[in-house]
Subunit: 419 residues, 2 copies
């Protein structure tokens, strides 16, 4: 079963808004085992819209259109579908009632153009708009199915969930095997390195399928299969997961789509562990990343951003002789990273103390190269670990990669403790 | 002049990522006076990619492809364009050198698949990738122009600005009147409020054109005009800018596309002023945002993330009686915000001290509602200001909006001091 998405709206073609509807619809369709081979964006133009419909109809079984159901004259989606299918439009009684009530409640006259939002295609199914006024439509002809949804995500999402999914299951997906997926998340390894190590598996594999993608210093491996039961699907997926883990041990931090900071917060909260951090070049990014996770309040005690040497000394007790002077190790050094994480742990009385100090650029510091970063992890009653990183990239990349590297090391340490 | 955008990537069709590249490219092309009638998304599939190319070539003068330049076997964009145009690929010497250096610097062997990133189309122009390894390409044939860009936005955006724009101006837009734009940046006001106040101007205006967009708590107003000289264009744009500023005073912080933190860092560095912060619910986001700006090292002394009451007391000297007890104001209060910014300023001996304390959710705290946030600004020898915010949205929205609100207030204060 193949579907295409046509998003309608000149504001998309002008780049005024981003097409989140296509993402949402694609993800939902993939989850239902429906393949999406093309997404198209077309403006509020009747002839181009009909051309797009013709093209999609030739390639797909299901065509989902978003946008162009509103009251203005450039909202043309239903007209285009009706003209393309050679059918007519009528006003849907329920939708029209809703519109009339809406304007009555506000003691405003309903202008004629507003009635356009109640238009429905002859022979189709109107789709209720719980959060808006424009009624959706679903219509089938010659084995092709057309679904028209409103453009605003806050109307499109509930309409898809409550109206379109049941309609598709009842009218279209009567014979299909559902698709099941797992998202395996990796840290501490790049996309191409992972691709390289999994290359034999990827090339030799057709069911389940394997897909890699990278984002923000993490790599996701999605494995998917079709099966007539979740149990059978999971058996296949779990076996492939075990094969992947055997090839790339120590890097898979989750088998669902969560960031590594989520896993860390969960692991630490479960064990009642607390954390603090002293950050120089990342300026708070480590703590900010952890704070973005709900529930981090129980494990993140706090910490310090010590951008200058004076602050490293004053707020985190780094001895001045370590920071300044002819033969000093300097702020960007393994020694300073070690003192920073140990001191912040002690000052805040946390179980773990983290530190990052490095040169994020654009200028260099202490005659040390841009991208040289030291990360430290101190743990109550345990030996402190410090790692030297050499990160290529601009200021932002260096800061993000350093943060992710530290979180990866922390995750490994927490896993080792757990076992 | 017509252009189309083809975004390549199965991850887009699976809804794993949102197509922000299409938005960015559409906006940039609109800014250059180039019409975009269609955007297409196609998967990592050679034959469908070639079909998409054929279709776009029949409809447009310029085809811009994003994605599919990476090292893996499903990165096929350059192959597809070469096959479609009937030309060959070669390894670009400079891109290959860069790849070899990259792996040498890391003392890692360069695997064969990585070389794919250096592929270039015979007879085309390689486009330097400042922030990544995959070289871009621009090639013309039979009056059609094809531009291949990498998928990651942090590579695509600088490549478009630095390589594609000049190439288009030199090779494609030779007869057109150049378009000149100014980006006016607003903070402390929402998109619809700004749209409302500028509505008469927008409706009555055809040259220069006015377009609004919102992102991350800032609103951008782009004003554009075509002219045969920059001087003539700027005369028109400056006049419109003055009209806009007269309608909406106190909110326009820049007349170029920079974030407000950039303006703050520049203003403070110019005046030799220093800053520190004490952050609770934002967990370091304020400091992290400022640190992202090169040059912030001279003005940001450091600060504290004090997530727990204990840390507010221990690290920033907030009296316990303010935080705990039956009749205490509590951590989320104007009083605590005031003490936090004043204390962190004194502890770090900075010119300015900032504070944020609030309820970011998902749970509420101290029986106070989610979205209630207090922000404070202390200044050496001046009166402290505290603002109460009520922010609607999820945890992330609340944290980002609170940060932007604090930066907006700081910018206003710096402007007032400057004058």
């Amino acid at each position: 079963m193949k579907a295409e998405i046509i998003a309608v709206g000149t504001e998309l073609l002008l780049g005024q808004i981003v097409n989140t509807n296509a993402q949402f619809l694609s993800r939902e369709l993939a989850g239902m085992g429906i393949d999406v081979y093309y997404q198209t964006v077309v403006g509020d133009n009747l002839s181009r819209l009909k051309e797009a419909l013709q093209l999609s109809s030739a390639r797909a079984d299901i065509v989902i259109l978003s946008g162009g159901l509103g009251p203005t004259q450039d909202d043309l989606t239903k007209e285009a579908v009706a003209e393309y299918l050679g059918t007519k439009l009528h006003y849907d009684r329920l939708a029209l009632d809703k519109l009339e009530r809406f304007f009555q409640d506000r003691s405003k006259p309903m202008t004629e153009n507003n009635k356009r939002q109640a238009l429905a295609i002859d022979g189709g199914t109107p789709l209720d708009n719980e959060t808006g006024l424009a009624v959706g439509n679903a219509v089938s002809k010659d084995g092709r199915h057309y679904i028209m949804l409103p453009g605003p995500p806050k109307e499109l999402i509930p309409m898809f969930q409550q109206e379109v999914k049941p309609w598709l299951l009842q009218h279209v997906l009567t014979d299909e095997l559902p698709i099941y997926s797992k998202m395996l998340k990796f840290a501490g390894i790049g996309e191409s390195a992972l691709d390289d190590r999994l290359t034999d598996l990827i090339t030799g594999q057709s069911d389940p399928t394997i897909a890699l993608y990278a984002k923000d210093g993490e790599v996701t491996v999605r494995i998917s299969t079709k099966a007539d039961s979740e149990l059978k699907a999971m058996e296949k997926l779990d076996q492939l997961q075990a094969e992947i883990e055997a090839i790339v041990p120590d890097h898979m931090y989750a088998s669902q789509d969560v960031p590594i900071e989520q896993v860390i917060v969960d692991l630490m909260a479960d064990q009642g562990l607390t954390l603090s951090a002293a950050e120089s070049c990342t300026g708070g990014l480590v703590m900010e990343t952890l704070t973005s996770i709900p529930g981090s309040a129980t494990m993140l005690r706090g910490g310090v951003v010590c951008y200058t040497n004076e602050m490293k000394h004053k707020l985190v007790n780094v001895p001045l002789h370590l920071l300044e002077g002819e033969n000093a190790a300097g702020a960007v050094s393994a020694e300073t990273a070690e003192v920073l994480c140990e001191q912040i742990r002690m000052i805040t009385d946390s179980d773990f103390g983290l530190s990052i100090t490095g040169v994020a650029g654009p200028g260099y510091a202490e005659r040390k190269p841009i991208g040289l970063v030291y990360i430290g992890i101190a743990e109550r009653g345990k030996k402190t670990e410090v790692h030297e990183l050499h990160i290529k990239g601009n200021r932002e990349t260096i800061r993000v990669r350093a943060t992710k590297a530290l979180l990866y090391r922390l995750w490994r340490r927490l896993k080792a403790t757990e076992q």
